[in-house]
C-alpha cells in the first residue's frame, strides 16, 4: 500500500541512508588511495632534500631546522665545479661533474642511435608500411622496450663489446675496455628506439590525409611528403617522443652500470670506461656503506640531481604535449 505520506518520506534521505553513508565512506577511502600518489612524490622530494642536505652539512635538513649545529663537510662549490668524484676514497673529493658528464655522454650518445633510427622507423611505419606489416612490426619493436635493462647490460658485455667495439677499437688503434662508453650508448639507444618510433608514428598517423593529398596533388614524391609535410606537421609529437627517450636514458641504471662501467672520469674517448650518476648509486648500494657516512649521504645528493634532471625533461614534455593539443584544435 502506498499512500502519499509513504512516498514523501520514501524519497527523502531515510530509505537509502545506510547506502549513502557507505557511499561517502568509500569515496573518502578511494580519495585517500589517490592521495598516496601525491604523497609518494612529496616523500621522494623530502627524502632527497633532507638526506642530501646532510651530505653538505653533516646533519639532515629537519635536524638543522630543529636546531642541530651544521658541520660543513662538502662545499656546494666543490660539488658543482669539482672534476674528481671520489666521496668514498681515502682522500675524498666531491666534484659531481665526472658522473654528470657520464650521464650526459650516455644520454647524447644513445640519442644518436635512437633518434635517427626511431624517426626513420616511424616514417616507414606511418607512410610506407602496409597495415599488416605495421601491426606486426610495431609490437615487435615494442618488445625491445619491455626487456629488462639488466639483460641489455648482459648483452653489452657478452656481445656488443667483444664482437663490435673491441674489433672496431683495434681497427682505429684504441684499446677498448670490458666496460666502455660506446657500448652503453648503443644498448641504451636500442632500448629507447621503440619509444621514439611508436610515439612518433602515433603523431605522424594523426596528420590528416588532406595534407598529404594536397602535396601529392602538387606533384610531390613520397620522400617530399614524408620529410616536408608529415614530419613538420607532427614535429611537436615527434619532439615529445625524443624528450621521453632522453629522459629514459638519463634515469637508465642497470644497462649502463654493466655496459659503461664504474670509473668516474671525463673523457672524450668513447672506448673508455665512464660512470653515470645511476651507476654510482648502484656501486654505493653494493658497497653496503653504513648509514650516516658521507658515501651514504652522497647517494641522496646525486639522487637529487638526477631527479631534477628527469623532472625537467618531464615538464618540457608536458609543455610540448599541451602545445601539441592546441595545434590540432
Amino acid at each position: 500500500m502506498s499512500t502519499d505520506t509513504d512516498s514523501d518520506t520514501a524519497i527523502t534521505a531515510g530509505v537509502a541512508r545506510a547506502d549513502r553513508v557507505r557511499d561517502r565512506r568509500v569515496r573518502r577511502t578511494l580519495f585517500g588511495c589517490a592521495a598516496i600518489t601525491v604523497v609518494t612524490t612529496l616523500a621522494i622530494f623530502a627524502v632527497l632534500v633532507d638526506n642530501g642536505f646532510s651530505y653538505f652539512y653533516g646533519v639532515k635538513l629537519h635536524e638543522a631546522v630543529l636546531g642541530a649545529t651544521l658541520d660543513q663537510q662538502v662545499s656546494l662549490t666543490e660539488f658543482v665545479t669539482g672534476t674528481r668524484w671520489a666521496p668514498d676514497h681515502a682522500r675524498p673529493s666531491h666534484g659531481i661533474l665526472p658522473i654528470v658528464y657520464g650521464t650526459l655522454a650516455i644520454t647524447v650518445g644513445s640519442a644518436f642511435v635512437s633518434i635517427p633510427i626511431g624517426t626513420a622507423t616511424a616514417i616507414y611505419l606511418s607512410e610506407y608500411a602496409s597495415p599488416g606489416v605495421r601491426s606486426k612490426l610495431k609490437p615487435t619493436l615494442e618488445v625491445l622496450a619491455g626487456i629488462p635493462t639488466i639483460v641489455y647490460g648482459f648483452f653489452a658485455i657478452s656481445f656488443v663489446t667483444p664482437f663490435f667495439i673491441s674489433p672496431a677499437g683495434d681497427l682505429l688503434g684504441y684499446n677498448a675496455g670490458r666496460y666502455n662508453l660506446l657500448a652503453g650508448c648503443i644498448v641504451v639507444g636500442v632500448m629507447t628506439i621503440p619509444m621514439v618510433s611508436s610515439l612518433s608514428e602515433d603523431a605522424m598517423s594523426a596528420v590528416p590525409d588532406d595534407l598529404r593529398n594536397a602535396a601529392y596533388g602538387l606533384g610531390a614524391t613520397k620522400f617530399d611528403v614524408s620529410l616536408r609535410v608529415v614530419l613538420p606537421a607532427s614535429i611537436s609529437g615527434v619532439f615529445a617522443s625524443y624528450i621521453l627517450a632522453v629522459s629514459r636514458a638519463i634515469g637508465e641504471t642497470m644497462a649502463v652500470t654493466l655496459a659503461a662501467g664504474q670509473q668516474a672520469q671525463i673523457t672524450g674517448n668513447p672506448f673508455n670506461e665512464i660512470m653515470t650518476m645511476t651507476a654510482y648509486m648502484v656501486s654505493m648500494a653494493r658497497g653496503e656503506s653504513a648509514v650516516g657516512t658521507v658515501e651514504y649521504q652522497s647517494l641522496f645528493a646525486v639522487g637529487m640531481v638526477l631527479f631534477v634532471m628527469t623532472l625537467t625533461m618531464n615538464l618540457i614534455n608536458d609543455w610540448i604535449k599541451r602545445r601539441y593539443r592546441e595545434v590540432y584544435q
Binding site: 589517490a34 598516496i36 635493462t149 614524391t221 648502484v282 638526477l306
Partner: protein, 299 residues
C-alpha cells in the same frame, strides 16, 4: 619544353634523380626498421647461445640450477632462492599495488570532481611515471629500510616495486573504466543504485578483464626491475629461499651479481638466469594477451 605535354609526361633526368632519392630514402627507412628487429634477434640469440654454452662447456645442470640456492662457487650455484624471492616480491607487490592503483583510478574516473586537486593528482601521475626506478629505491632505502629500520628485507623491496607500478596500474585501470559504456552506469542508477553500488555491481566487473591485463603487464615490468631492488637490498648470494622479512636477492639482482663477476662460468649462469626471467615475463605477457582476447568481445 613544358609546352610540349606529350614530351614532359615522360621521365626526364631530374625526375630520375627524384626516383633514386625516393628509393634510397625507402631503403634507409626499411633498414632502420630492421635494425631494431635485428638487435632484438641478436640479443635473444646471444642469451640463448650463452646459456647453451654454459650447459655444454661448463656442465651446468638445469635441474641443479633450478633447485639450488646461490653459492660463491660457480660449480655449485643455483637460481632457486632468487626465483623464490621474485615470486614473493610479485605476490606482495600485487597485494599492495593492485588495491591502491585500482582505488585511485576509480576515484579519479568515477568520483573526482574537476577541481585543482584532481588536476594536480592527474599531472602528478604523469610525473611519477617519469621518475627513474632507482629513485624509488632511494626513497624506500631512506624512509623504510633505514627510516623505520626494517633493514634490507624483501617486504621493503616489494614496497619499492609497488610504488613504481601504482601509476601504471592507475592509467591502465582508468582506460578500462572509460571503456565501460555509460548506458550500463545509467541502467544501474535508474534502479536506484548509489554510485558505489553502481561501481561495485556493474562498472568494476565490466572493467575487470582490462584491469587484470594492465596489472599483469605492470607486474611483468616490475619483475625485471633491478635498480630499486639493488638500492633496497644488500647484494649477496642467497643460499635459501627468503620469506617476506628476510634479506633477499631476487632474479634480476642475482643476474647482476653473476654478470658483474669476471669468471666466464658466472656469465653462463647469468645467461641461464636471464632465460628464466624472460620465461616468467613471457608467460605473464601471454596471460595478459589471453585475458584481453578472451574478454574483449564481451561488451
Amino acid at each position: 619544353m613544358s609546352h610540349d605535354t606529350a614530351e614532359s609526361l615522360h621521365t626526364d633526368d631530374s625526375l630520375r634523380w627524384e626516383k633514386l632519392k625516393n628509393r634510397l630514402f625507402l631503403g634507409l627507412c626499411i633498414s632502420a626498421s630492421l635494425f631494431g628487429v635485428v638487435a632484438l634477434v641478436l640479443l635473444l640469440a646471444d642469451v640463448v647461445y650463452e646459456s647453451v654454452a654454459g650447459i655444454v662447456e661448463f656442465d651446468i645442470s638445469i635441474v641443479h640450477f633450478l633447485t639450488q640456492g646461490a653459492r660463491r662457487d660457480p660449480e655449485d650455484a643455483g637460481f632457486m632462492a632468487a626465483i623464490a624471492a621474485s615470486v614473493w616480491l610479485m605476490i606482495l607487490t600485487t597485494l599492495m599495488a593492485f588495491f591502491i592503483g585500482v582505488s585511485s583510478a576509480v576515484y579519479l574516473e568515477e568520483y573526482a570532481p574537476d577541481t585543482r586537486i584532481t588536476r594536480l593528482i592527474e599531472a602528478n601521475l604523469a610525473n611519477l611515471a617519469g621518475v627513474p626506478s632507482v629513485v624509488y629505491g632511494l626513497l624506500v632505502l631512506a624512509a623504510i629500510v633505514n627510516g623505520i629500520g626494517t633493514g634490507s628485507i624483501l617486504l621493503a623491496g616489494a614496497i619499492a616495486l609497488a610504488l613504481l607500478i601504482v601509476p601504471i596500474i592507475i592509467v591502465a585501470t582508468q582506460e578500462s573504466l572509460r571503456a565501460v559504456p555509460d548506458g550500463l552506469r545509467h541502467g544501474s542508477f535508474a534502479t536506484g543504485a548509489t554510485r558505489w553500488q553502481t561501481i561495485r555491481g556493474v562498472v568494476l566487473p565490466a572493467a575487470m578483464p582490462g584491469i587484470f591485463t594492465g596489472t599483469i603487464l605492470a607486474l611483468a615490468r616490475a619483475i625485471g626491475e633491478t635498480a630499486p631492488i639493488i638500492m633496497v637490498g644488500i647484494l649477496f648470494t642467497a643460499r635459501t629461499p627468503p620469506g617476506p622479512f628476510d634479506t633477499f636477492s631476487a632474479m634480476p639482482s642475482q643476474i647482476y651479481i653473476w654478470a658483474a663477476q669476471p669468471q666466464p662460468h658466472f656469465h653462463h649462469l647469468a645467461a641461464l638466469g636471464i632465460v628464466v626471467l624472460l620465461a616468467f615475463m613471457l608467460s605473464m605477457n601471454a596471460a595478459a594477451v589471453f585475458l584481453r582476447n578472451r574478454y574483449e568481445t564481451d561488451l
